[in-house]
Symmetry: C2
Subunit: 353 residues, 2 copies
């Protein structure tokens, strides 16, 4: 289990993922603004982890306002909720977690700021605990799909660092590894921010799972020359038809998988499914600053003054997805009507594309 | 025209491409070993440019040996030829150029080392001149395929820097640009060595062609959301059936092009076609040191002690190629029997996979 994020004595402790793998740095904060900043700068990232962090951010706001009259405390909590909602647009788990925190605040009839703060902290911790349990079940359901001695391709980081501590795609691989299935895992470095190289390679190495790093552009050669038994990735938002937004570069891997007859699995908790969206065209895709592509760790890699395009996610059409692995089990096509739909976002928390 | 490489007064002058775009550094040398080193380290790269550089390297060896008795001079030239052949295995232009230099040396009946040196220098300059003329004609034939206001995707660098000074894929775009076709060109950065970001963006910017940089992993999103009118890339070696080895990451672009109904063109001179190879499975693919993937410009990007896979090229199956653009014209399928086959490598200069 990775100590991605934890609620600890009224403070939040998280690992600063921007400093991995060079340094394992833990940050403790009592400020929801600092949590928002951590999400925006990808110090905390991965759809489920963003949800957990945002919930804890709201809990921090409640705690900071606990000495205020209830009305003012509720208002401070609402400000934090809105601020956290504006950090990143694509991962729907963020809006789901914030909506859950909002319901706790609004359903209260609170007699004191102290009681409100306590309830918010409990809810945030519950969201974290549920996330860990979901990861465990995703691993359990997914491991069944992993053959003995499988060569597996994953992308970006859908591991402990992307969740409350165990993962989605990597939870499946960890479970198979525990069953002694002798995996070999390939991961693309995941430019521009290198979550594959920096985070997934680090996690898998730590867990003793053999991992091979390549550039994202090498996946085609790997399918053609080495072959894979399966691909498993995480997700940031999944539409009603199964169209899946995930880290940029996922869609070409799905296309390669189909071309080479390799199953392509998406591992995600039910909180990543967005029943409000018919399909992938409606998923808001974050575009980030061009500097991420124009250099690496402060070293410029391109001439100044050119255009840059830097979308953080792409959409894999549902037809390329072999199955979804959720905490409720493995879901195969046809997807419409079979995907989790436990939550519909109220207008107030919908992201603005 | 880019001053990629030139024969100048018994010396070779080349631009050190490893230092672009930060610094425009020209190196002058009289040593064939230094040319071999430049090819090995990618200071000179791109299949046609490697051929030109290798020919000039042999000419340098001839010049260094010009005061020796003919027999010793020929032996020194043969050593250089073999040394240059061992630099990189995939680009067939290298073996073609070296074979041509070998024929000049062996066909001689030389009366002096001086005469041999002069003939080798003339042959190397001729190879360079022919390369420029081939590029010009590739541009001419290819420009016809470029629609007005086209959005074009290319990969790596198949420009002036990859050839004697004008390019293959980029020669097509330069010709269309001169015809005022208002192009917009996208290029992936081309990890690990960033030829797209460092070289193609630099060349196109210099030529006034609007260029947008993205990571290699963004091509899928670009096809799906922005759309392209065509893809045009270069090649390092093409088999008899049209299977094409080119910079790693090319094959997934060809697959995306087919999926989205976009034409995929390969621009290459006849010297890149290898009639000895039936298909792509036989093309020797260079694998380079893992450090290229484990970091960037000296900055580590992954935890130490993991496995790395770093093939420099992939093979695009002929079925994904819409047409080849050569100096002789545009060649459409079925390819067998229609592709250039002017040269068959003698066993002595075949690369060792």
């Amino acid at each position: 289990l990775i100590q991605t994020i934890a609620w600890h004595d009224g403070r939040v402790r998280y690992i600063d993922q921007t400093r991995l793998p060079g340094a394992e740095t833990y940050v403790e904060t009592a400020s929801w603004e600092e949590i928002a900043h951590a999400i925006r700068t990808l110090a905390v990232r991965g759809a489920p982890a963003i949800g957990v962090a945002a919930a804890m951010g709201v809990a921090l706001a409640g705690r900071a306002a606990r000495a205020l009259p209830v009305r003012e405390a509720l208002s401070a909590v609402a400000v934090a909720n809105a601020g956290l909602a504006s950090t990143r647009p694509t991962a729907v788990n963020l809006f789901w977690a914030l909506d859950r925190m909002r319901r706790v605040a609004e359903d209260g009839g609170w007699t004191s700021g102290e009681a409100l703060a306590e309830a918010l902290a409990q809810e945030a911790v519950a969201i974290h605990t549920e996330d860990l349990e979901q990861s465990r079940r995703i691993g359990e359901h997914g491991a069944v799909l992993i053959p003995e001695a499988a060569r597996v391709l994953t992308h970006c980081n859908a591991g402990g660092l992307a969740t409350g501590g165990l993962g989605t795609a990597l939870a499946v691989l960890y479970a198979a590894h525990e069953q002694q299935k002798r995996l070999s895992v390939f991961v693309g470095e995941t430019r521009p921010l290198l979550q594959g190289a920096r985070l997934t390679a680090w996690e898998l190495k730590k867990a003793g799972v053999p991992v091979t790093l390549m550039t994202d552009s090498m996946a085609g050669a790997a399918f053609a020359r080495l072959g894979f038994d399966l691909v498993v990735v995480g997700a940031d938002r999944i539409g009603r038809n199964g169209d899946t937004a995930n880290k940029i570069g996922t869609y070409p891997l799905a296309l390669l998988a189909r071309e080479h007859g390799v199953p392509f699995y998406v591992a995600a908790p039910s909180t990543t499914f967005d029943p409000d969206l018919a399909g992938g065209q409606e998923i808001p895709i974050e575009e980030r600053a061009g500097e991420e592509v124009m250099g690496l760790a402060g070293v410029p890699t391109a001439p100044p003054g050119i255009q840059v395009w830097n979308p953080a996610f792409d959409v894999t059409p549902h037809a390329l997805v072999t199955a979804f692995i959720t905490e409720g089990g493995v879901i195969r096509p046809p997807f419409p009507g079979r995907l989790p739909s436990k939550w519909t976002a109220p207008a107030a928390v919908r992201s603005q594309p």
